[in-house]
């Protein structure tokens, strides 16, 4: 506590020093400070400077990435709201719209894992119910350093507990995700949280203010000093030594899931009653962001009465109130006539509500002491967004790019013991998802642990079952993207498409969370640009619109940048959900086949990284036309109930896919015609493993032939051994023991 006070005092006193470098201490460059002066036609005061600093931070303004994100395809007939709003919204049929968003909370989680992850969940939920949708599912994509490093273990345990503690209590199920351990994340863990919400399609609301004289009502928690400068101090700079990281701890917010739960219910009730003109959550950059965004989107101005904001502690300065990132707050725009009813709804849910502002014409954001009182700061609301800097940062491929591409993993020495290498790649993630309520709302037909989560689709207003389903995945692969950010990102999108196919779904919309290193390094900016191009190419090829995204840069500590890690969230629909999709578990006697082309390339594979630390070479070719055929075939076979188990081939290749299916079902495998470790561990795309009832095998093979997809019979699910002729022979106990131990051994060997 003492340390916290010291840091806070230092930070605040720093702000009041009338020094040249005030803007720098707030994270603004000299050029940016000049631009602000030009906008205002005078030097900004402290409050104004603090407001620009948070809004022009990398986290809020996307100043390094905006230029590139424009290359992503964002349109389709079913897209109701594309990127740029709080969440993307798509029409999923039956009068239902789905809101989806993904966001990173990497930097806070590195410093304070429990609260960092917890407030990550809280923030993404608010983005969803801001649109008028009830949040129905959360997914998280987590990446940590090696589990044998105590600090990484502390972070992993803290993050999982934080998601569990907040997500379960707030009453939104965590239905899936991924957990990856790799030394690349030792200094910069990644915590990406995705949320899906549903609403009647006609209730869509946007975060904009309108109507001169309407009132801005602040709902929820009081405002404290937590999270001040979170976006600029924390999220938009690299990490140095541990002591300095500890000093940043006060910039991490503290979450209260009970407050959030009441806030969700109160806001949805306000929307049901038609009492709000617009609504906006308070996240990064707090009140500054919420007031200026609603005003500038609506083409209006706003007077903000800083003295009316309920505070947690005395003595807070106006700039602290305006930039605090205290959690569980929303800003609702309400007409004066509706105010009494709105306040009554808030009272029912014990949600604090205070009028803190008034919509004005003219576009100026004025911060006052009392609504008609002394003006503390005044600036054009839109200038915080539209005039934010836009950088085309220099880019170049790594100097050893050609050399790296020539160094393929196919040249690595073959394993001495194939079985041992396979065992080292296995890990059961259930220790993570058992801690999450993944069943709430009784929609979860396929929960965590499958290729994709499957949810029943019920109408959010009537509760009526539509007989259809939604499918959802969150996936990334940093090894592929380290080898080739462009092709690796395209392969990640392709894998997500195949994940959906494995549960019988077709893709509808994509969201992305782009986690990269320091954009001021040209190699990192090149990775980013390449990844965007790879994603655009794949989305175009599959006809999937990108409806939202989040960029997390500066994932650098002590000069080390993480592997490029674009995480893809993909939403799909199942047109008829009448039975539980086959899943990974195969029955004794199932004939095991591979659908899709063969593959032997090892570059980018988990095996190459795990056994030799190898992340170079050239990724296997992705043939979009072939991939579409495979995905279509698999989705059709699943829909027609022709497969008794199915699993896509990705991390760890065919070997890990087979071992996971055996481990989950407790039934062994006798295989043949897998001729080498390269065939076993290659992560070549467009392939799935399936188990088929022997009587249905000819029919399945005929269906494959009709669509031009190769089929290979590779064995039989049976017995208590896991064996592949000429390659390995293990007792099933060895597989299940290794699987149940929870974390992979060798991805983290150095």
């Amino acid at each position: 506590m003492f340390g916290l006070l010291c840091v806070l005092t230092r930070w605040i006193s720093g702000l009041f020093e009338m020094s040249e470098s005030l803007h720098r201490s707030l994270g603004l460059t000299d050029e940016e400070a000049e631009a602000i002066e030009k906008i205002l036609n005078r030097p900004p005061n402290h409050l104004e400077l603090a407001m620009y600093a948070v809004m022009w931070s990398e986290h809020c303004s996307y100043k390094s990435s905006r230029l590139h994100l424009r290359r992503l395809p964002t349109e389709a007939p079913w897209v109701l709201v594309g990127p740029g709003e709080n969440a993307g919204v798509v029409d999923v049929g039956d009068g239902i719209a789905a809101a989806i968003r993904i966001e990173s909370h990497n930097h806070p989680s590195a410093i304070e894992p429990y609260q960092g992850a917890a407030t990550g969940v809280g923030g993404i939920l608010r983005d969803i119910f801001t649109m008028g949708a009830r949040p129905v599912a959360v997914m998280d994509s987590l990446r940590f350093g090696c589990p044998d490093d105590p600090r990484s273990r502390w972070i992993a345990e803290g993050v999982v507990s934080g998601i569990s503690g907040y997500g379960n209590a707030v009453g939104v199920p965590t239905v899936g995700g991924e957990t990856v351990f790799d030394e690349t994340y030792a200094g910069n863990p990644l915590v990406n949280v995705l949320c899906l919400g549903l609403m009647p399609a006609d209730r869509l609301v946007l975060g904009r203010a309108s109507g001169e004289g309407n009132l801005a009502v602040l709902l929820g928690s009081s405002t404290g000093r937590d999270g001040i400068g979170g976006v600029s101090v924390l999220a938009s700079a690299s990490f140095g030594d541990e002591e300095r990281e500890a000093e940043k701890r006060p910039s991490v917010q503290v979450g209260d899931p009970f407050e959030e739960k009441r806030l969700i219910e109160a806001c949805l009730a306000l929307l049901d009653a038609g009492l709000v003109v617009g609504i906006q959550d308070l996240g990064g950059a707090g009140l500054t962001c919420a007031t200026s965004e609603t005003a500038s989107r609506g083409g209006v101005g706003m007077d903000v009465d800083v003295s009316a904001v309920p505070r947690r502690e005395p003595g807070m300065e106006p700039f602290e109130v305006l930039t605090s990132e205290s959690q569980e707050r929303m800003l609702a725009i309400v007409s004066p006539d509706g105010l009494a009813d709105a306040l009554a709804i808030c009272d029912r849910w014990d949600v604090q509500a205070s009028v803190v502002g008034r919509v004005t014409d003219g576009g100026q954001l004025r911060v006052c002491e009392g609504l008609d009182g002394h003006v503390l700061g005044e600036l054009p609301a839109a200038s915080l967004h539209e005039d934010a800097p836009l950088y085309d940062r220099s880019r170049r491929p790594p100097v050893d790019w050609d050399e790296a591409r020539a160094d393929t993993a196919d040249q690595l020495p073959p394993p001495g013991n194939v079985a041992a290498d396979l065992l080292d790649l296995l890990a059961d993630p259930s220790w993570v998802y058992r801690q999450y309520d993944h069943m709430l709302f009784c929609n979860t037909v396929v929960g965590p642990g499958g290729d994709a989560t499957v949810l029943r689709l019920k109408h959010p207003a009537t509760g009526l079952d539509t007989g259809r389903g939604l499918a959802l995945t969150a996936d990334g692969n940093h090894r592929w993207c380290a080898v080739d950010p462009r092709a690796g990102t395209a392969m990640t999108v392709a894998e997500s498409v195949l994940n959906l196919a494995c549960v019988g779904a077709r893709p509808l919309a994509l969201v992305n969370c782009l986690n990269f290193g320091n954009p001021e390094h040209p190699e990192i900016m090149w990775q980013f640009s390449e990844a965007v191009d790879g994603m655009a190419e794949a989305c175009d090829a599959f006809g999937i619109p990108v409806v939202g995204g989040n960029v997390s840069l500066y994932n650098e500590s002590n000069g080390y940048n993480i592997d490029p890690t674009p995480v893809i969230g993909l939403l799909g629909v199942i047109d008829s959900l009448t039975r539980i999709p086959p899943g990974l578990a195969w029955p004794d006697g199932g004939r095991v086949i591979v659908l899709g082309p063969g593959g032997t390339e090892l570059s980018g594979s988990q095996w190459a990284a795990a056994t030799a630390g190898h992340k170079r070479g050239v990724l296997p070719d992705l043939d979009y036309e072939q991939h579409r055929r495979v995905a279509g075939l698999v989705a059709g076979l699943v829909a027609d109930d022709r497969l008794c188990a199915v699993h896509d081939i990705s991390s760890g290749g065919l070997g890990v896919a087979l071992a996971e299916m055996a481990a989950v079902s407790g039934v062994g495998f006798r295989g043949a015609r897998i001729n080498s470790h390269a065939e076993l561990f290659s992560e070549a795309p467009s392939r799935v493993v399936a188990a088929v009832d022997p009587e249905l095998l000819p029919e399945v093979e005929a269906a494959a032939a009709a669509t031009g997809v190769a089929v290979a019979r590779i064995g039989l699910a049976s017995g208590d051994r896991f064996s592949i002729k000429g390659l390995l022979d293990l007792e099933m106990a060895a597989i299940t023991d290794r699987w149940c131990s929870g974390t992979p051994v060798s991805t983290c060997q150095t």
């Binding site: 209590a169 058992r434 959900l577």
Partner: protein, 220 residues
């Protein structure tokens, strides 16, 4: 006439709609009741659903027992009305001393959301009256504080009076005597940690929970 089941909503409850959906699906009528109300209306049974009433701050169920509606629930129970507490509802019933014992943190000190296999120990409760002793049910749990604990004297009383309703076949949380659910002396007040409403639709992998809820609406 269909049985009307009142489902109490505390701030922080989150399973109320799931219970209503499950009750409706088996032919009953679920109706939400607000925790600040003082009357139950004309309901035939009451469910205290799962969730985190009042954030579970202080202690699970510790504040919810003081909600105005709890006096009406206690009165309804005294008159023999069926009252079922699921998960957080069970915790509230123990805090309100409508059922004996308490729910501690799980033995492994972790939240657990997973399927469990249960065995019916007693059919003298409103939930199990349609079942047979020894029936095995697949119903999931979802809790951090589900480790049932009570004094030896209470345990003996529960055993002697057939008040242990459900036990875990593979105890996940360290509960005393594998207890997953207990009932009052009259069998009309039941508390259980597993969530029957989460096992009431074929697409959710089990419909065993519906068997319990059918008992609740079958009436006498």
């Amino acid at each position: 006439m269909t049985a009307k089941v009142g489902v109490v909503v505390f701030p922080g409850s989150n399973c109320e709609h799931d219970v209503v959906e499950a009750v409706d699906a088996i032919g009953g009528t679920g109706e939400l009741l607000w925790h600040k109300d003082c009357h139950l209306g004309d309901v035939d049974a009451v469910v205290l659903p799962g969730g985190f009433a009042h954030g579970d701050y202080l202690r699970t169920g510790a504040m919810a027992r003081f909600s105005p509606i709890m006096a009406a629930v206690a009165c309804f129970a005294r008159d023999g009305g069926p009252v079922v507490g699921i998960c957080n509802g069970f915790q509230i019933l123990t805090e309100a001393q409508m059922l004996p014992g308490a729910l501690y943190k799980n033995q492994g000190l972790r939240f657990l959301c997973q399927p469990t296999m249960l065995e019916v120990e007693s059919t003298s409760s409103v939930l199990t009256r349609e079942l047979v002793r020894g029936d095995q049910l697949n119903i999931p749990i979802n809790h951090f504080e589900g480790n049932y604990i009570c004094s030896d004297k209470t345990l003996a009383e529960l055993r002697d009076n057939n008040r242990i309703v459900l036990t875990y076949m593979d105890n996940p949380n360290g509960a005393t005597a594998d207890i997953a659910g207990i009932c009052s002396e009259g069998g009309n007040v039941v508390g259980l940690m597993p969530h029957p409403e989460r096992a009431a639709h074929p697409l959710l992998g089990s419909t065993d929970g519906a068997l319990l809820l059918k008992g609740l609406i079958s009436g006498d």
